[in-house]
Amino acid sequence: MWAQAVNAVLGVWLMFAPAVLGHTESVLGNVDRGIGPSIGAVAAVATTQISRSVRWLNWLFAPVLLVAPWFLDAPLVSKVNSAIVGLIVIALTPIGHPNQSRYGNGWFTLLPLHPLPGWDAERGGKDG
């Protein structure tokens, strides 16, 4: 939960980093403002247990932040910012394996060969 929340904040930060760090005119500014909301949206949806799995999409988005600074012209601080944010997002993405036991054991039960709770399974519970 906290790891995805941090990633969501970092994504929002990237939306405004070009204006703050002064690289709105650089292509890197467009990278930040494109990848930022993508990472932020994925991480925000992934804060909940039921939709945690979408977090892996950030392993597609974040590496762009690591690679782009090496090829694009921008102030050093902007490049370092993009790369560090990319590294942190990649590192935090796997943290927080979802517990979907309260949701009928979750999405994997829909896959072929995966067992799903039968009609005789437990229902409700203390906080149900």
Partner: protein, 201 residues
């Protein structure tokens, strides 16, 4: 919900994802989104002259009158309003058993909620990259779209599991999906395999 939980809660679930306590907040968010989208649409069709923009100066005006916003026959604001309306409608249709009595509406609901959130994010990405501006209410709309996704998809999971159970038990899952057979037993599942039916459900 203790007395009714046996009937209303999906097998292996703690709570009923189709309860009004879970659905009404989503419908509420959709109605707030609808109100915002209608306001943005009113500006785009010049029914109101100014747009509320506390943070980004001319940002909202630039974004809402941009080439992207009129790429389709209707403005993107109008499209968003229509999307929120569909979200609210498919959110209220059906009772608290709908995860198993009308799986199709739950799936349609999920389909409306998911892509609307995705489109919102794509529009947020387009704003600064193409026009170097942000639009406060457009960002708010995107946040609302995203907030609707997690509470909506749990119901999709419950319905999908029930359809798979009917299929695994040899029932007519296609008729069950469309709510044509209101229970697994009606869809051809052996009552022995469906203890809820034995209990008079």
């Amino acid at each position: 919900m203790s007395g009714q939980s046996r009937e209303l809660t999906p097998p292996g679930w703690r709570t009923n994802p189709s309860s009004w306590g879970e659905r009404l907040p989503i419908v509420g968010l959709a109605l707030v989104g609808l109100a915002i989208a209608l306001y943005l649409t009113a500006f785009q069709y010049e029914l109101v002259d100014t747009i509320w923009e506390p943070f980004f100066g001319d940002g909202s005006r630039t974004v809402l009158t941009s080439a992207t916003s009129t790429i389709l026959p209707v403005s993107d604001g109008a499209l968003g309003a229509f999307g929120y309306l569909l979200d609210a409608m498919t959110g209220v249709i059906g009772g608290t058993k709908r995860w198993r009595t009308m799986p199709w509406i739950v799936i349609v609901f999920g389909i409306f909620v998911g892509p609307l959130g995705t489109i919102s994010i794509l529009l947020v990405i387009a704003q600064p990259v193409l026009y170097d501006s942000y639009c406060t209410l457009c960002l708010a709309s995107a946040v609302i779209s995203l907030a609707m996704i997690p509470p909506a998809v749990d119901e999709v999971l419950a319905s999908s599991q029930e359809v798979k159970r009917v299929w695994k038990a040899g029932g007519n899952w296609w008729r069950f999906f469309w709510g044509l057979d209101s229970s697994p037993v009606e869809a051809g599942v052996d009552p022995e395999q469906y203890p809820a039916a034995v209990e008079g459900n």
